[in-house]
Symmetry: C2
Subunit: 157 residues, 2 copies
DNA sequence: GCAGACATACTCGGATAGAGTGTGTCCGAGTGGGCTTGG
DNA sequence: CCAAGCCCACTCGGACACACTCTATCCGAGTATGTCTGC
């Protein structure tokens, strides 16, 4: 079970975008320079966040990415699931219905207990991530961070 | 983020072994037939559970696998981590220290908030899985299940 | 001085190659049981 | 009839190919800007 490396990239990118002034944008190239990441691949992953509705992209000069919604309404879960998908890491393939010990269809009307327990664990993980928004992440940073980020990321204080 | 397919296999195998009488064993070939799985690969994965201390293996005729400890002391977490490893799915590579926006070493003495939040979510997942033991899984099955499993798995009622 | 049209440079978006991990398979070492044989 | 020794079949354990996803890269379509020209 392993999350893509780009998960960390996008979490940090989203947190940085949340520190910009309302309406301001940062391009994929700027974000890549800010974290020393491969620009082309980062741009591809940022598209995933756009499709998920977390970011908005504008093309053309002075364009780039910005948050599509207030930072308080974007949770860590939305970002993570935009990158990695929403499917559960445990996929029940109903092996209890196969082989010599196969159970009849009647006995399988109630779902497999093991699958239920794994789903519960996944829900606990999701709830934990959904409990934190980008706004809370920003609030935990020192007050000097946002101006510094704006300066080094976009060049405008 | 995806768990190996063998995770489901080993959860069901462990649950089946827990239904055997104390001291009884089932071979990898029997378990593979019982669930219609590739025997060789299943055997390889069962070794992981032996190394993790969840199962015990005996060689030679009439040998096979059995639980290494009482079913009440084997949690789902131990099985899952034996297959997939204990490392967190989110690996913080400290990109905040790289690139144009690199923070100084002093500012990074306290760990990255994003990494902390991701670690919290992973702990929530682990706690959820650690809360359920194999004994509780067996207890949730209908009373007719254990004899049936013993019969179809090992041939002995 | 002003408005409109144009060329431009910058942006995102999708389609295309390469590496690492999980998946599947095979064969060899070790061991307990069952048979044979001798007493 | 009993016991000891031997052979064997069955078990696990580790070493070897294949496939799929993540990683990385490139080039093309589209657009807001800035400039130039004509009125």
């Amino acid at each position: 079970m392993k999350l893509p490396v780009s998960t960390e990239w996008l979490l940090h990118c989203a947190a940085s975008l949340a520190q910009l002034e309302a309406g301001a944008t940062a391009s994929a190239a700027q974000l890549a320079q800010y974290f020393d990441l491969p620009a082309a691949y980062l741009a591809k992953q940022l598209q995933a966040l756009v499709k998920a509705g977390a970011l908005a992209a504008t093309t053309g000069p002075r364009g780039g990415f910005r948050l599509a919604r207030p930072a308080s309404e974007i949770t860590l879960l939305q970002i993570v699931e935009a990158v990695d998908g929403t499917s559960s890491p445990y996929e029940c393939r109903e092996i209890r219905q196969q082989g010599r010990g196969a159970l009849s269809a009647e006995e399988c009307q109630n779902p497999c207990i093991l699958a239920e327990k794994m789903a519960e664990a996944h829900e606990a993980w999701r709830n934990s991530l959904a409990a934190t928004s980008l706004a809370e992440i920003i609030a935990a940073l020192p007050p000097s961070a946002p101006p510094r980020t704006r300066l080094r990321l976009t060049g405008t204080s």
